[in-house]
């Protein structure tokens, strides 16, 4: 069926890709956020140490005899030791004059209300984190602003950041992989009800147009609702047309019988051979129409009874025997021997009228295609399965179209001028199908066709 459907994309693939894409975006965002956050924390750590160093120097600045003295502790610098041996630069300014330290080292602007000012500057050909703090010293007759600035390279920070980045990247990649795997699982789970619905519809018999009754997810409810409505409408229109056909056939049959009776009467009376020939042709046509109408009725009845099957215990042998007795006169007209063979009793559960109809149609067909002075054999057996086999000595089925022959109004190409509507095998097939059996067409090696109904 799928080959008749235009396919545009796949829900499952789209769902999977959306989930994987989302995971990729999340993982990338996670990586960027975690990295920038850790960079901030690492920077905060360095800033804190630099701030402490600056404060420890500023604390010991005193004004003595009008001169600033800064005898800072050894620890001020030893605390700046890092695993990457970062370079350290410092400067102590009195007002705008360099007291000691590195010339040209810039001072970080100190925001109003803050004790420390931070900046990242370029100095000595490298990028430095710079911290400044200042304090007002009051001497005997002068006030001085002492500013301490310490700057440090960021090698250790870069090492830490690279390590964090690597770890976060690994974490993000792991997260992404896990989510990708989960998304395959999630899309499979999501798509499963759709698959179940497809399977339950595919598995249905050809005449099953009942609504889908199994619960479906809410997103699929409109689709299944529409499907149910469509099937209900289809069934309704199917029933209506079957009824129409039955009604039509019934209405045609009665007038046809009247015409047949008049034609027969007239045939007895006319003498001229050409008139008699015309009447024979007319009667033959009427027979044909009548038979077709009968088969249409049969078919409609099969369809109707299939929907409301009444099963009872039936003996197939008895049923076949009755048919053989009824049809023997017709067979004798063509000098055909109608022979019933097989087991004594073959019992199955089934609808007698339907089965009778099916077997009669098979015998009808056999009679129609059998040459004069031939045999038609009915084999009814119980093992291995209850079976009815009808074989004739006619031309057989065209081998290439055997399966299609059971379709409605389909006739073999070698049917020639034999009268027939093409409904016989269809009726037999439908009857066997409602009994849970199968029909099998074959040709015999010595010539002639065989139809096997297995129950």
């Amino acid at each position: 069926m799928a080959e008749n459907v235009h396919i545009s994309g796949s829900l499952r693939r789209r769902l999977t890709f959306s989930l994987i894409g989302g995971a990729a975006i999340l993982a990338a965002t996670l990586y960027l956020v975690a990295r920038s956050y850790s960079a901030q924390i690492a920077q905060q750590g360095q800033d804190n140490i630099l701030g402490a160093a600056v404060s420890s120097i500023l604390d010991v600045a005193i004004m003595r005899d009008g001169a600033v003295e800064v005898d800072f502790p050894y620890a001020s610098f030893s605390m700046l030791n890092t695993p990457s041996d970062d370079r350290v630069f410092y400067a102590i300014h009195q007002d705008d004059t360099l007291l000691t330290g590195y010339e040209d080292l810039p001072r970080a602007p100190i925001p109003v209300g803050e004790k420390l000012g931070f900046a990242t500057v370029e100095y000595a050909g490298t990028s430095l984190r710079l911290v400044s703090a200042s304090r007002t010293l009051v001497g005997a007759d002068l006030r001085s602003q002492v500013t301490v600035s310490i700057a440090q390279t960021q090698d250790a920070l870069a090492v830490a950041q690279n390590r964090i980045s690597r770890n976060v990247a690994l974490f993000g990649a792991g997260f992404f992989l896990l989510t990708a795997l989960l998304s395959f699982w999630a899309s499979a789970t999501t798509i499963a009800p759709l698959k179940r619905l497809t399977q339950s519809i595919t598995r249905r018999g050809p005449t099953d147009l009942s609504p889908v009754s199994k619960p479906v997810p809410s997103e699929m409810a409109p689709l299944v609702g529409s499907l149910n409505t469509l099937m209900a409408r289809l069934e309704q229109s199917l029933t209506r047309s079957e009824e129409f056909i039955a009604e039509a056939a019934h209405r045609v049959r009665t007038p046809l019988a009247t015409v047949r009776a008049h034609a027969e009467n007239t045939y007895q009376r006319v003498e001229r051979e050409d008139n008699r020939a015309a009447l024979r042709a007319m009667m033959r046509a009427v027979d044909e129409s009548s038979r077709a109408a009968g088969q249409l009725l049969d078919h409609a009845m099969v369809t109707f009874r299939s929907d409301n099957l009444e099963k009872e215990q039936i003996d197939l042998v008895a049923l076949a025997g009755e048919l053989v007795r009824n049809l023997s006169p017709v067979a004798e007209m063509k000098d055909i021997d109608l022979i019933l063979q097989g087991d004594a009793v073959v019992e199955i559960e089934g609808d007698a009228i339907l089965l009778q109809n099916a077997i009669r149609n098979l015998i009808d067909n056999a009679l129609k295609y059998s040459p004069v002075e031939s045999r038609i054999e009915l084999n009814v057996t119980a093992t291995p399965r209850p079976q009815v086999v009808v074989c004739d000595q006619g031309p057989g089925f065209p081998p290439d179209r055997m399966q299609a022959l059971t379709n409605r109004f389909s006739r073999g190409e070698n049917a020639g001028d034999t009268v027939g509507s093409g409904l016989g095998l269809t009726i037999a097939r439908d009857v066997v199908a409602v009994h849970g059996g199968s029909i099998h067409l074959s040709n015999r090696a010595e010539g002639g066709a065989c139809v096997t109904l297995s129950f």
Partner: protein
């Protein structure tokens, strides 16, 4: 008149040699190997006496016969000054003044070497490599302490000096920390650890201590009996000298040890970068027992304690820059002068 002759000679040398280098008054200057050209000569500026490094340099020349090494010796403070003035003139700087060396590296004068396997505490920025660990020692004239117990700590030295102050007056010695970078390093580290240093300096100052530029001179004078006690002498020099001269005793103070590391680095402006790197690697390998020279070198090796840590050695980190600060140095020297020069 003599001064003028010296000056003229110096001037002539300057002109003939074509630069201020020739005018430099080196403590020692020696060329190893046969210089094929000026291009193939490594210039090593060092505060370490030639005899200590000679086996290592000779080993390097053997491995690189096309190269020559010009080894220039001067004091630590001098070496620092000369190097800062012309970093492109020297390929390698070796000094015992860790603080000066570290500050040079911090100020960007050193070239970083990749992949040198060396303990973390014995190098800085992959540029400055320590290759010895040497204690500061007290050197005593044995005759002066005949029949007496040798002082083992700074406190005992103070007591010993005070007991016989007339005997020791004018006959004690220590570094002139104003002139010697290593002396300044030892003094600042001592002062950082204990107040005893200042008391010792006051006692020595009261005894009219003599001040020296270099360990060698102090050891000579103690051996000869010109002075009887010297404080903060380089233990390695004293030990080397003692092998042939038993007139003095070497005491490593047991109250707290002061250990320094001799360090070297490649100048960032070296014109023979590859060879200079090779020499420094050779030096480090030889001094950490990886090279063939380990046994023959008179230099003490880099002592790695059992747990791989630096032990009592002055840490090679930015704290060394504290006493290099101009204000702090001035304050320290004022205090030192107040104690020592009376």
């Amino acid at each position: 008149m003599r001064h003028i002759i010296v000056l003229v000679t110096a001037l002539v040398l300057w002109v003939t040699a074509g630069g201020p280098l020739a005018a430099q008054d080196w403590e020692d200057r020696r060329v190893f190997g046969t210089p094929t050209s000026n291009e193939a000569t490594l210039r090593i500026l060092s505060s370490t006496d030639t005899v200590f490094l000679a086996p290592i340099i000779e080993g390097f020349i053997r491995a690189n016969p096309d190269w020559a090494v010009e080894y220039l010796v001067t004091g630590t403070a001098d070496a620092d000054m000369l190097f800062r003035a012309a970093p492109d003139r020297y390929d390698i700087l070796i000094s015992s003044a860790m603080d000066l060396q570290l500050k040079l590296v911090n100020d960007g004068y050193a070239h970083a070497l990749d992949g040198v396997e060396h303990p973390e505490w014995a190098m800085w920025r992959q540029s400055l490599f320590a290759f010895t660990s040497e204690p500061a020692a007290i050197v005593l004239n044995r005759a002066a302490f005949k029949g007496r117990e040798l002082p083992q700590t700074r406190q005992e030295l103070i007591t010993a000096l005070r007991e016989r102050s007339d005997y020791f007056t004018g006959r004690v010695g220590t570094y002139d920390v104003r002139r010697s970078g290593l002396g300044y390093l030892f003094a600042t580290q001592d002062a950082r650890v204990s107040e005893t240093y200042w008391r010792l300096m006051e006692v020595m100052g009261a005894l009219n201590t003599r001040l020296y530029c270099c360990s060698g001179d102090m050891i000579d004078d103690v051996a000869e009996g010109r002075i009887l006690a010297a404080y903060n002498v380089l233990g390695s020099y004293a030990a080397a000298r003692q092998e042939e001269d038993d007139r003095f005793a070497i005491i490593q103070p047991s109250d707290f040890p002061t250990m320094m590391m001799r360090t070297g680095f490649v100048s960032v402006q070296s014109v023979h970068m590859d060879e200079a790197e090779a020499f420094l690697r050779h030096l480090v390998a030889a001094q950490t027992g990886q090279g063939a020279q380990a046994a023959t070198s008179p230099l003490p090796p880099l002592a790695v304690s059992a747990d791989g840590s630096a032990g009592a050695i002055i840490p090679l980190d930015p704290s060394l820059m504290a006493f290099q600060d101009r204000l702090k140095r001035r304050t320290f020297l004022e205090e030192w002068e107040n104690a020592v020069i009376q």
